[in-house]
C-alpha cells in the first residue's frame, strides 16, 4: 500500500503500521484515514501529505 509523507515534518504514514497512537489499526490505507486525522508528530492536516516511496 502507498505510503504518505508529511510535507511539514517528514513523518511517513505507513499503512502496514497504521497509527496506533491515534487509534488507527495496521492495514488502514491513507485514503481510508478519517478526514480529521492529523500527523501524529506535528499535527498537520491530512491534505498536507504527499505520496512517497
Amino acid at each position: 500500500m502507498q505510503k504518505y509523507k508529511c510535507d511539514i515534518c517528514g513523518y511517513v504514514y505507513d499503512p502496514e503500521a497504521g497509527d496506533p497512537g491515534s487509534g488507527i489499526a495496521p492495514g488502514v490505507s491513507y485514503d481510508d484515514l478519517p478526514d480529521d486525522w492529523t500527523c501524529p508528530v506535528c499535527g498537520a492536516a491530512k491534505d498536507q501529505f504527499s505520496p512517497t516511496d
Binding site: I8, C9, V41, C42, G43, A44
Partner: protein, 396 residues
C-alpha cells in the same frame, strides 16, 4: 546583570552568551542569550531554563528575587538543550509541584532525560492555568520549530512568552528591542527566521492568522533568544512578510571557484543582472558563511548558482550549501546556474536539479564553459544575468 522586571512581577532571569560563535552550524557572531522568565505570584513559576553550562547564571538571577526552592511550577515551552540542558539539575533543586508541557513536550522530555518520575502536567491547547493574580493560557505551536513547542500567554499582562519564535541570536547588555540598534536587531531576527523557521513558513502564516482570529491582544513578546519586543507589531509584520515569501528586486550570485574561471563567470552574470536595474550580491562560498547567505536568500527574488565540476560532481562547499538551503525550503524563487569544467561538466545539471526540486522557476538551462572563459563566453554569462534580471523585474 541583574534580573529585569519586564512586567509587574514578571522577571527575565536568563543567561547572556557573549562567546558562542557556532550554533549547530549556524554562525552566531553576535553571540546569543537563553531567556528564562520567572513570575512571582501565589504560585511562583519559572518558564524554561537555560543551556547546561549557564545554570549558575540562571540560579544567581533567580536568587536575587527568591530562593529557587520556593518555585512551585516549571513550564517547559521547548525541550531543545539550549533551554533544557540544566533542567535535570534545576528539577533537583526546585522540586516543583508540577512541570507543565505540551503532549509532545512530555514525550520529548522523556526521550531526552528518561525521567518517568517527574511531575508532568500535560496542558491542552488553549487551556488556562491560574497562578493566583495572573492567568497563563497555553498555545500549542507544533513544529515551530519542534513538535513539543508551545507558547505561554500571560493574560493580565498581554505578554506572550513565545519560545524560539521571534527570537534572535543576539547578545546585548540591554533586554528590549527599543534599546538596541534596530538594523542590527532586524538583521539578526531575519537571519534567525531564515535558518530556523523558514521551512515552517506555511505554519507561521497559519499561526499569525489564528492568533488574530483568537483576538489575542499582545503588548509584549518575550522570546527564548535575544531581546524582548516592546513593539510586537514590528516583528509580527516581519514574520508575515517572511512567511509569505515576499521578495525584493534583488538577486544573489552564490558561487565557489577552483582557478577563478567560475568567479569570472559569476562577475559577468552579476553585471548582466545589474544591467536590468536589479540589485545583486556576489557571494563567494569560501568567505560567506552558509547561515549568512540564508539571511540574504530570505528576501531575494533570484538565486543564481555557480560551481565548477570536480570529480564529476559539485565543489563540496556548493554541495553542502545546496543541501542546507534545500532543507530550509525557500519558495517562489527564480533560479539559474553556471560553471566551468574540464571534460565532463555535470555541475550545472546538478545545481539545476536541486533548484527544480525546490520548485524554482529555472529561466535558462545555464552556461557551461570549458576551462577558462573567453570574451565570448563572458558575454554569454552577461546574457544569462540579463535574462535573470528581466525575470526578476517582471515578477516583483
Amino acid at each position: 546583570m541583574h534580573p529585569i522586571e519586564i512586567k509587574p512581577n514578571v522577571y527575565w532571569v536568563g543567561a547572556v552568551d557573549w562567546t558562542t560563535r557556532d550554533f549547530h552550524g549556524y554562525s552566531t557572531y553576535r553571540g546569543t542569550t537563553y531567556n528564562a522568565y520567572l513570575i512571582m505570584d501565589e504560585k511562583i513559576t519559572l518558564f524554561d531554563t537555560v543551556k547546561k553550562d549557564k545554570k549558575g547564571e540562571l540560579l544567581h538571577r533567580i536568587r536575587n528575587i527568591v530562593e529557587p526552592e520556593k518555585i512551585d511550577y516549571l513550564v517547559v515551552n521547548h525541550v531543545e538543550m539550549d533551554h533544557s540542558g540544566c533542567l535535570p539539575e534545576i528539577m533537583e533543586i526546585v522540586k516543583p509541584e508540577k512541570l507543565f508541557c505540551s503532549t509532545m513536550g512530555r514525550k520529548t522530555l522523556l526521550d531526552h532525560f528518561h525521567r518517568e518520575d517527574w511531575p508532568y502536567e500535560v496542558v491542552k491547547p488553549g487551556q488556562d492555568l491560574s497562578l493566583g493574580s495572573k492567568t497563563i493560557q497555553f498555545i500549542e505551536t507544533r513544529m515551530l520549530h519542534w513538535p513539543d513547542s508551545m507558547f505561554s500567554y500571560v493574560k493580565e499582562d498581554k505578554l506572550l512568552i513565545s519560545s524560539d519564535a521571534f527570537g534572535q541570536h543576539f547578545a546585548s547588555s540591554e533586554r528590549f528591542d527599543d534599546e538596541v540598534n534596530l538594523n542590527d536587531l532586524m538583521y539578526q531576527a531575519a537571519k534567525y527566521y531564515a535558518n530556523i523557521l523558514y521551512l515552517y513558513s506555511p505554519l507561521v502564516s497559519k499561526l499569525i492568522a489564528s492568533v488574530q482570529e483568537m483576538g489575542l491582544e499582545i503588548d509584549m513578546i518575550a522570546p527564548d533568544h535575544g531581546v524582548i519586543w516592546r513593539d510586537p507589531g514590528r516583528i509580527i509584520n516581519a514574520y508575515s512578510e517572511w512567511s509569505s515569501h515576499k521578495a525584493r528586486k534583488k538577486a544573489l550570485v552564490i558561487y565557489d571557484t577552483m582557478w577563478h574561471s567560475t568567479e569570472m563567470m559569476a562577475k559577468a552574470v552579476a553585471d548582466g543582472i545589474q544591467d536590468e536595474g536589479v540589485s545583486v550580491d556576489l557571494l563567494d562560498l569560501t568567505v560567506n558563511h552558509r547561515s549568512e547567505i540564508m539571511a540574504s536568500v530570505l528576501d531575494a527574488k533570484a538565486i543564481v548558482l555557480g560551481s565548477p565540476t570536480l570529480n564529476n560532481g559539485l565543489l563540496p562547499r556548493m554541495a553542502g550549501f545546496l543541501m542546507y538551503m534545500r532543507g530550509l525550503k525557500p519558495a517562489n524563487k527564480i533560479g539559474a546556474a553556471f560553471g566551468s569544467y574540464g571534460w565532463s561538466g555535470e555541475a550545472v545539471k546538478l545545481m539545476n536539479k536541486v533548484m527544480e526540486e525546490m520548485k524554482f522557476e529555472i529561466v535558462d538551462p545555464g552556461v557551461r564553459v570549458k576551462y577558462v572563459p573567453s570574451h565570448e563566453n563572458l558575454k554569454e554569462c552577461v546574457e544569462l544575468g540579463r535574462r535573470v534580471g528581466k525575470a526578476v523585474t517582471e515578477a516583483v
